[in-house]
Symmetry: C2
Subunit: 332 residues, 2 copies
Amino acid sequence: MPNINDVVRLSGVSKSTVSRVINNYPHIAPEKRERVIKVMKEIGYTPNVSAQKLRGLAGKIIGVIVPRIVNPFFSYLVESIEKEGYRRGYQTVIFQSNEDSKREVDFLNLLKRKQVDGVIMTAYENDWDTIKKYLKFGPIVLCNEYLPEPFVPIVKVDQFTASYEGVKHLVQQGYRKIAYCTGGLFNDSGKYKDRNHGYEKALAEADIEINPSWLFIKRHTIEDGRKVLHQIYNMQDRPDAIFTGSDEVAAGIIMEARKVGLRIPEELAVIGFDDQPLAEMLMPELTTIKQPVSDIGYQAMDLIINRLEGNEVEVEDKIYTLPFKLVIRKST
Amino acid sequence: MPNINDVVRLSGVSKSTVSRVINNYPHIAPEKRERVIKVMKEIGYTPNVSAQKLRGLAGKIIGVIVPRIVNPFFSYLVESIEKEGYRRGYQTVIFQSNEDSKREVDFLNLLKRKQVDGVIMTAYENDWDTIKKYLKFGPIVLCNEYLPEPFVPIVKVDQFTASYEGVKHLVQQGYRKIAYCTGGLFNDSGKYKDRNHGYEKALAEADIEINPSWLFIKRHTIEDGRKVLHQIYNMQDRPDAIFTGSDEVAAGIIMEARKVGLRIPEELAVIGFDDQPLAEMLMPELTTIKQPVSDIGYQAMDLIINRLEGNEVEVEDKIYTLPFKLVIRKST
DNA sequence: TTGTACGCGTTATCAC
DNA sequence: GTGATAACGCGTACAA
């Protein structure tokens, strides 16, 4: 790998002049400039970024942490983040945490080490005290995630109202035995808390009591959905509707219902979350809650770039809440 | 940001000793070691990676370039790549080229700049002469891609035989008016060349002539599939089967067929490519060609790490061909 | 076992 | 306009 000294030697000018050519300074003798450029081309010289960084130069790379990239919600989110970044001259690199706190820290260390200049987190696995430490190394924006106290900008949709409206829709359709499925736990903490509350409120308003045996926790995948349907199918007292909190779980439920001959929505209404492409593929087509993925992504990238470039007019702890939309199809 | 000298000052030992502690050398006075560690913790010291790199230390970050992360084939591929990397102590960062040659080069520059230590390309947009230049900055492995001359290791499935078998399956089912759909062009160059040849051979063997008006090129998405179905539907002389080369295009075709009332497979048989989860969601379920995604990912990561760590026993230009599998469901 | 001194490749600050 | 030279933070011969 040729370095600046090689260029110096071959072009006969000083190191400073070469550096000036590299960073195209104005006042420089045209002949020397050309000679230097010629030499650089000939030997295939590129400035060593490590050395540049050592001198304190900033980069333009944004890292995005996603739990699992195979989840279409996140891949579409990343798509929109990347798009806005590109428009503003930033590169986006994606990192999958696999819902593993260690991997998440590993990636945050890239921020500490200036390998990336800012981080968008679309999920977090560590407690916030751990993550907060990284704030001094660069901006962090939280995307579509719950946070007890907003230390950083947050872009999200109103999960509480979204699940409330979803369950309310079921109630309005006449269903009263409404099961509930979540990726998290059914308690007052954690990132799924708001959705839980929405479910509770909608039921309370309709004077319906929660049936604990119709609560399914930690379900994420299509496969999980299949199993959920089997559990329901084997119940003495079956629910007549289910709010899944995930299009993928809903897909598993619908596919398996077809297999065992359970009619949807006559015997079981199903509502998903996200409005992924698969929602339209299912038979019957899936009623679901659409999140404004591209707006979320755009906002998040916009925020982090502004912070990076010092255009921040907003306060530190602003929360940006974006609207969702209930998309009614055939499964409810 | 504290540096090594701060640690030196506060701990009272020499810089070398601190450095030895950092890189945990064996022979060091326990008391000093502990004192140094204590100081490092107190001031929150982290080695500056740029400085380390400047000294020639290697990193452990692998970059993966994908055309579009929202394509499930690639997100699952990335998943398996990441998994193997993690097992071997490497971090994986993902980059989306958006099928844009400029973005691809932007990312390859991260290799040049030692921001990543190796690159797995799951697609390439630039001509190979451009990419070849980056080989001197670190190893590159090509994954699931065609290449005129193998300058780098390639992990792929036999696309020619895969499409040949797929089309042959249609022939064996009695279909003779077989349309063909591809993401590329229908000619002898480019990455889809092998699949084209497989289609041609299967037809030739059955003494069927290619009908040019049943050839669809540059189709990728569900939406493309919908449009293809409309074209077919409006034809005087309709094909009775279609090889799509993509589960997503196939999904569009099937969904739209349902809408216009065209029966599948009675009036049109459909075969996809990849065996994505959606293949089982469709109604009827999709016959498709399954690629061994996790094996491809594992192999690619394995190859690049071996190269990075100098364990290469293989020759430079080895091509690893993995087996595919025809999954027959209800759409053919 | 520990410390000194130098070099990695670049840019900023001077002085000319 | 141009060229020395001193940092940037770290690792490592080499010496002790």
